[in-house]
């Protein structure tokens, strides 16, 4: 072995571990073993991401790779620059518009429906839509949380219309927007449920029972007049179309109805964008409805069907929120590994230190366990509330914990430099809150399994 080879081998060998050429190293041992023995275990150097991708059905694996390529090429370079709040009413930065245009042309804004209506590959139809969305969201989140939300909040806004099965509504609202997006003219949707007086009340039944709705629809000739305010609406400042949930006048949350509101309707206005901790590329907007006239044919799925639609949509959207957590945890892990290569203590790389190695292993394990939970839930065509909620709160906890561990391993370096881990932490923190706080999601598991939990005689229960 010449000098260069020796140095290369040394660079590949961590302190405390044997070089791969050592006879006692497992790789060297297996290389000399009988093929029957060496086929019993794997020690190849394939990345775990690649391993997971290859375990997916072929169309999904291809989708995941495409999402990663787009995220690396278009999202990651913009991540730092776009990580800043944008006051409501200001024009969208040219870079964001260009990103949306490219995303539309590439089919990332039209992937709730299969071809020829949307851009979901026909070969993927044997697998659930949620799984596809989870794969995409993880890749986008690992590049930039804010830009991921900018692109994916659009899908959430469109989801109640698609999930309603209301063909007329799909034809009237979704398909024209799809065509625009494919032409490179971004047409975004937003999902508006949260109100200043009730965040969690819109997420669970017990709270909704007591809640007095803040946005109310009054019947008038030919349609409805909407009054009230919604808050924290992702992408609400740039959306062209919004799925707005409102109660009928004089009734409670059981009358919730989904209305399609166009941003150019008279009386509608984005009032302010919040100053958020993270995911700043996508605004959280307060919306005002001042006697907004909505025609009858803008009602989605029928009157008083909004509560159901909302709950169904949340079941579909909580799994992708879990996938966001996977993306953040993964990015924090990758950055920790990268920086622990570069940073040295004395003459040692950080990566050579046992506590750092163990920390990295712990993040890997929790990331992969969370991914298992998200993918398991996402493999059902009709996601279960308990599974979606578990995936959401567990994966988001894992994401925040991974970022905290990364900070602990790298110290202030984690918070400076490109600010990647600090940004991951700020972005990941939102996943513990939106789509129902993690506490609400934990109670959501119990709500779903109420009858099982109150009848423990059934065996086995889980």
């Amino acid at each position: 072995m010449n000098m260069a080879q020796t140095q290369a081998l040394r660079a590949r060998t961590l302190t405390g571990l044997l070089p791969e050429t050592d006879p006692l190293s497992i790789r060297q041992a297996l290389a000399n073993a009988h093929p029957g023995v060496s086929s019993l275990c794997r020690y190849d150097q394939e990345s775990l991401w690649e391993l997971d991708t290859r375990s997916l059905p072929k169309p999904l694996a291809q989708w995941r790779r495409q999402a990663r390529d787009f995220a690396e090429e278009r999202l990651r370079p913009l991540a730092r620059e776009m990580d800043q709040a944008r006051p409501a009413g200001t024009p969208m930065p040219a870079e964001l518009r260009a990103l949306l245009t490219d995303a539309g042309r590439a089919g990332w804004l039209t992937d709730l429906l299969p071809r020829p209506f949307g851009t979901l590959p026909l070969t993927s139809t044997p697998w659930p839509l949620t799984w596809m969305q989870c794969l995409k969201v993880e890749e986008f989140a690992s590049a930039c949380g804010g830009l991921m939300l900018l692109l994916c909040a659009h899908g959430l806004g469109m989801a109640p219309i698609v999930l309603s099965g209301d063909v007329n509504a799909i034809r009237r609202f979704v398909l024209p927007a799809y065509r625009q997006n494919r032409r490179g003219q971004p047409h975004l949707f937003a999902y508006a449920i949260t109100e200043p007086g009730g965040g969690s009340d819109a997420e669970e039944g017990h709270g909704a029972r007591q809640y007095r709705p803040g946005v109310v629809a009054r019947k008038v000739a030919g349609g409805w007049r909407l009054n009230g305010r919604k808050c924290f609406i992702s992408g609400g400042d740039i959306a062209d179309t919004l799925s707005v949930f409102a109660a009928l006048e004089g009734e409670g949350m059981e009358s919730w109805t989904c209305f399609v509101v166009r941003s150019d309707m008279s009386g509608f206005s984005p009032v302010r964008n919040e100053l958020k901790m993270g995911m700043k590329a996508s605004s959280a907007t307060e919306l005002e409805f001042d006697d907004v006239f909505v025609p009858n044919h803008h009602v989605v799925g029928g009157l008083r069907r909004g509560w159901t639609l909302n709950r169904v949509t949340l079941n579909y959207s909580r799994l992708p929120v879990g996938a966001m957590g996977l993306g953040f945890a993964r990015r924090a892990l990758e950055e920790t590994i990268r920086q622990s290569h570069e940073l040295r203590t004395g003459n040692q790389r950080l990566l050579d230190q046992q506590p750092v190695q163990m920390g990295i292993a712990r993040i890997m394990a929790s990331l992969r366990s969370a991914r298992g939970l998200v993918w398991q839930g996402a493999q059902r065509f009709a996601p279960r509330q308990s599974e979606a909620a578990m995936a959401k709160f567990h994966a988001s906890d894992v994401a925040v914990s991974a970022c905290e561990q990364a900070m602990e391993l790298l110290g202030p370096h984690a918070l400076s430099g490109e600010g990647v881990i600090g940004k991951c932490f700020r972005d990941a923190r939102l996943t513990q809150i939106f789509e129902g706080t993690n506490q609400i999601n934990q109670l959501g598991v119990v709500e779903d399994l109420q009858s099982i939990l109150t009848d423990p005689g059934q065996s086995p229960l889980f």
């Binding site: 965040g199 809640y211 924290f232 203590t345 110290g411 918070l415």
Partner: protein, 367 residues
């Protein structure tokens, strides 16, 4: 709660008044972030109050238990309004202990800041291992010139935005020294946000090789340990006060916000979150009180142990406060999210909890 004597209360009230008056408006208008000029003005006001005056018993000028307690209370009073400013003052006061500057008190620009700025071979989270006498060794290659940032991007100085002169520990051929570097002498600086509010930044000098460095004093093992102990004690006090503040905000919110027909404070889920906050505070307060009493020679390792144990709890506590707020906690309006950010920074600045725990164990084994 740390008991406060009458005299201490008097001083603390003065500080509190300053903090409320000067910093309060940033609470009320979260869209405005304080800039370097504001910070300079605050420091001037602190000077006027004698906060750095050695003769008036300024911050960290004495290290007897009573003074230590007073320092902790002062930092906590400021931290309730602005943990970032408390950290500024804390490190500035420590710098003045190393490099007394009588007579320069009126010139803010001339005051040095202490930065445990680090170069290749010493990532910040390993700082604590750079204890004279600890197990850590420095690669002699890094001593060939000044042990100071030599490689672009590998060095990190954590300091307020407006620093002019930094007092930095450095390793030279002659041994460990305190040296002073001037911002004006560093040819290029890359500034990074540390994600902490109120103009705290990381500075990556691209080239510091040509900068003039003034030797200030040799760095003695005992003196350095003691300084580290004070730095860590102050850091823990600042974190505690910020978490107490978060607890006040969360409790008030839990008592007002209604969900499911009742105030959220009555919900078991919220009570558990508040318990997490309470646990962090409840465990930190007596430890801080105890740290004020320990002999000077023991402060550094006792403070290391306390930081290793308690910073993670405090971070969890302030995270729980944010969770109580739900969506609005993520927005700047409530003031909780900035406490979350700065607690993360306080937790990993000048040695992470993991490093603190290792350091404590190294000391035990050595003993």
């Amino acid at each position: 709660m740390i008991p406060i004597g009458q005299d201490e209360q008097l001083v603390t009230d003065q500080i509190r008044q300053f903090a409320r008056h000067s910093l309060g408006r940033y609470r009320e208008t979260p869209e405005i972030e304080p800039g370097a000029d504001d910070a300079g003005q605050w420091i001037r006001e602190c000077l006027a109050m004698g906060l750095f005056d050695p003769e008036a018993g300024g911050l960290w000028q004495d290290d007897d238990p009573a003074s230590r307690r007073q320092n902790v209370l002062t930092l906590m009073a400021i931290s309730e309004q602005s943990p970032a400013l408390a950290l500024h003052l804390h490190l500035q006061a420590l710098a003045l202990r190393v490099m007394p500057a009588p007579g320069t008190g009126k010139q803010v620009e001339r005051l040095p800041w202490l930065s445990f700025g680090l170069g290749p071979g010493f990532p910040a989270h390993q700082l604590a291992n750079w204890q004279p006498g600890s197990g850590a060794r420095i690669n002699p290659a890094h001593l060939s010139d000044w042990w100071l940032p030599a490689t672009a991007g590998s060095a990190l100085l954590c300091a307020p935005d407006y620093w002019e002169r930094l007092l930095v520990p450095a390793m030279t051929r002659k041994g460990a020294q305190w040296i002073l570097i001037r911002r004006a002498d560093i040819s290029q600086i890359i500034r990074d946000s540390l994600q902490a509010p109120a103009c705290w930044s990381a500075w990556r000098p691209v080239s510091i090789q040509q900068a003039k460095r003034r030797l200030i004093a040799p760095l003695s093992p005992d003196g350095y340990r003691n300084l580290l102990g004070q730095a860590w004690l102050g850091q823990l006090a600042i974190a505690l006060a910020s978490v107490r503040h978060a607890a006040d905000l969360a409790c008030t919110y839990a008592d007002q916000r209604r969900q499911g027909g009742s105030v959220i404070g009555k919900h078991g889920a919220v009570q558990l979150l508040l318990a997490e906050l309470d646990r962090a505070i409840h465990l930190t307060e007596p430890t801080l009180e105890k740290l004020c009493q320990v002999p000077a020679s023991e402060l550094w390792w006792q403070a290391a142990r306390a930081r290793g144990d308690l910073h993670p709890l405090l971070c969890r506590g302030v995270n729980a406060a944010m969770q109580v707020f739900g969506g609005i906690g993520y927005m700047r309006d409530t003031g909780v999210e900035s406490l979350v950010r700065i607690n993360q920074m306080l937790s990993c600045l000048h040695g992470t909890p993991m490093t603190m725990q290792q350091l404590h164990q190294q000391r035990r084994l050595a003993a």
